[in-house]
């Protein structure tokens, strides 16, 4: 029975988790030379979920972040002649970061990241190049800096998050290989190693979380930058979006995860 009771030297780990769901909207620019050599521009909208929490181990020093998002963009050709593309994006990333408290209000966190994205670009005007599939899995690094203050007497956290995939693998047709040829069975060379020599991706988030009682109101900017070159194909996706989100801080109480408090 003694083991079931917390002793004076053992306390339950308090790992507050910040969960926020955002609705995003903004502008998008897409170049996918498999579909068209012309850069298209338009608007984009999406949903984004973020889960930020201290880790089960060493929660004072480590945090983990999970983000999941889905987006849709409708983009038009610059001549505005009625040509358009539909873009579907799905993305997820998981980051583990070591954090340091630089000053009482400032925190810096750095760590490795694994992220993946996929989706498709559909060009109704294409013939046998009517769609371009997208898939990538990468390892990279992420950094987060935050500043805690107050606004109208309520806690306000300003933060900036920078995610940089470094290496990974991605799907790319073998030049102007048709999806019909892939369907027929020729699947050689579709998966490519990704590095900064053939693609560069970056995600930037700058946001403000304002705590109103148990609710967090978020206002954020998200920047997504992607450029890739593969066997004569060029791909560029840029999105600048503003997100408005709601969430809260949730405390995870688990008797299985204990933190030793040294006297």
């Amino acid at each position: 029975m003694a083991g079931a009771e917390p002793s004076d030297s053992v306390a339950q780990a308090l790992r507050p988790a910040r969960r926020v769901v955002e609705l995003t909207g903004g502008g998008a620019a897409v170049l996918d030379s498999y579909l068209s050599p012309v850069r298209y521009r338009g608007w984009t909208t999406g949903l984004r979920y973020e889960h930020l929490q201290a880790t089960g181990f060493a929660p004072q020093h480590w945090i983990r972040q999970l983000t999941v998002g889905a987006g849709y963009a409708l983009v038009h050709n610059p001549a505005r002649s009625g040509n358009k593309m539909h873009v579907l994006d799905l993305a997820a990333s998981w980051t583990l970061m070591r954090r340091w408290r630089l000053r009482p209000a400032w925190q810096l966190a750095l760590g490795p990241m694994i992220d993946a994205d996929g989706g498709a670009v559909y060009n109704p005007s294409g013939s046998n190049n009517v769609v371009s599939a997208r898939a990538r899995v990468s390892l990279g690094a992420a950094a987060r800096v935050s500043f805690a203050t107050r606004l109208a007497g309520r806690p306000l956290t300003l933060s900036a998050h920078f995610a940089l995939p470094v290496i990974g693998i991605w799907f790319c047709p073998d030049g102007y290989e048709s999806y019909y040829e892939i369907y027929l069975g020729n699947r050689r060379g579709l998966v490519h190693p990704a590095w900064w020599g053939n693609r560069f991706d970056a995600n930037i988030t700058v946001g403000a979380d304002w705590q109103l009682g148990g609710t967090i109101l978020r206002l954020a900017y998200h920047g997504h930058f992607e450029t890739a070159a593969c066997r004569g194909l060029d791909t560029r996706h840029v999105r600048h979006t503003v997100g408005i989100g709601l969430g809260g801080d949730f405390v995870s109480l688990s008797p299985r995860h204990r933190l030793t408090v040294r006297p």
Binding site: S81, N128, Y180, A229, R231
Partner: protein, 335 residues
């Protein structure tokens, strides 16, 4: 040490820029659109060497006629004329007001009159499923006309068609005037006439901007369908110059089967899988990009020759005769 660090840093930055090189950006004016079109074709068209086309010479001949003050109509006509140098029905410039084309079948004998077949051979008594018109002729020969490979063929529909025609002594597949469509429909139809895994052809694609930058040809095979009706009796395929693109592919594969005879005219060709590009002004250009050979490994861009050449004159049509169909019936009844 600091210098070495700087060199490493510069190397990393330069390596990262490798993913940022820019595709051609052309201005939206007559010159820019002309050059964009020429370059799009130059990079992606797949039959320059096969057709012995000097594309640079074509550029030089047409580029001098481009000037800033020309209208969209004038530019379109000039670009359309340039594209016709490729002699390819799959090459089109698509603008809001017109589609440029090189459609060889427009200038050749049609060798087909649907009304003659419907009235004098089918007596307007036929069934229709999945875009296939079918009947058993009075000579007890099955007849099916498939006019558009864009119309999906349902496996169940095809079972009904072949089951209905199974009592006939042979089958005529009429693809005259069929301008093509989906290659997956070619596969669906051909697979009903094979008993074993069969080489259907090979396909390759452009892997670079050079005129000879192609992937190694990839052989592809068709498999006989499981739990669906297969047809093993003699078959005649009727073709004409209007049998183009996917239909040309269908005829080339069917011709390689031992129980199949092709009657009529040489098909229209078109063995390059078309891709579509775009110009700064929003016009589209469609062009052959991925060559597909027949089972014999040969390109059929200029068409598939029939086993038996038969033509149809206007006098035949006026008299209610279809010599191609008559020949097919004769061949099957005497088999």
């Amino acid at each position: 040490m600091a210098t070495r660090f700087h060199y490493i840093l510069i190397a990393i930055v330069l390596a990262s820029l490798g993913g940022c090189h820019s595709p051609g950006d052309w201005s939206n004016d007559p010159r820019g659109n002309f050059e964009a079109l020429w370059n799009e074709v130059d990079r992606h068209y797949c039959f320059f060497e096969y057709k012995d086309v000097d594309w640079q010479e074509v550029h030089d001949r047409y580029a001098v006629r481009v000037h800033d003050g020309m209208s969209d109509y004038e530019l379109f006509d000039l670009c359309g004329a340039m594209l016709r140098e490729l002699r390819d029905g799959h090459v089109n410039l698509i603008a809001p007001h017109d589609v440029s084309r090189y459609w060889i079948w427009e200038r050749r004998p049609v060798n087909y009159d649907e009304r003659v077949v419907d009235e004098f051979y089918l007596n307007f008594d036929y069934r229709r499923a999945s875009g296939i018109k079918y009947a058993v002729l009075t000579s007890n020969i099955g007849y099916m006309h498939y006019g558009d490979f864009s119309v999906a063929i349902g496996e169940g529909n095809l079972d009904h068609v072949l089951n209905y025609l199974s009592t006939a002594d042979g089958l005529i597949i009429d693809v005259r005037g069929n301008g093509g469509g989906l290659l997956t429909n070619v596969q669906t139809l051909v697979e009903r006439f094979i008993d074993e895994r069969t080489l259907a052809g090979s396909i390759s694609h452009k892997t670079g901007n050079g005129h000879s930058d192609f992937s190694a040809p990839y052989d592809y095979y068709f498999e006989p369908p499981v739990n669906h009706i297969r047809y093993n009796k003699p078959v005649i395929v009727l073709a004409n110059r209007g049998s183009y693109s996917a239909t040309n592919n269908f005829v080339s594969i069917m011709k390689s089967l031992r129980q199949v005879t092709v009657v009529g005219d040489t098909t229209g060709g078109g063995c390059g899988l078309p891709f579509t590009g775009e110009l700064p002004n929003g016009w589209h250009v469609r062009l052959s990009s991925a060559p597909i050979t027949g089972p014999d490994g040969r390109l059929t861009e200029w068409g598939v020759a029939p086993d038996s050449v038969v033509t149809m004159t206007p006098a035949d049509a006026a008299a209610g005769r279809d010599p191609l169909l008559d020949t097919a019936i004769s061949l099957l009844t005497s088999h």
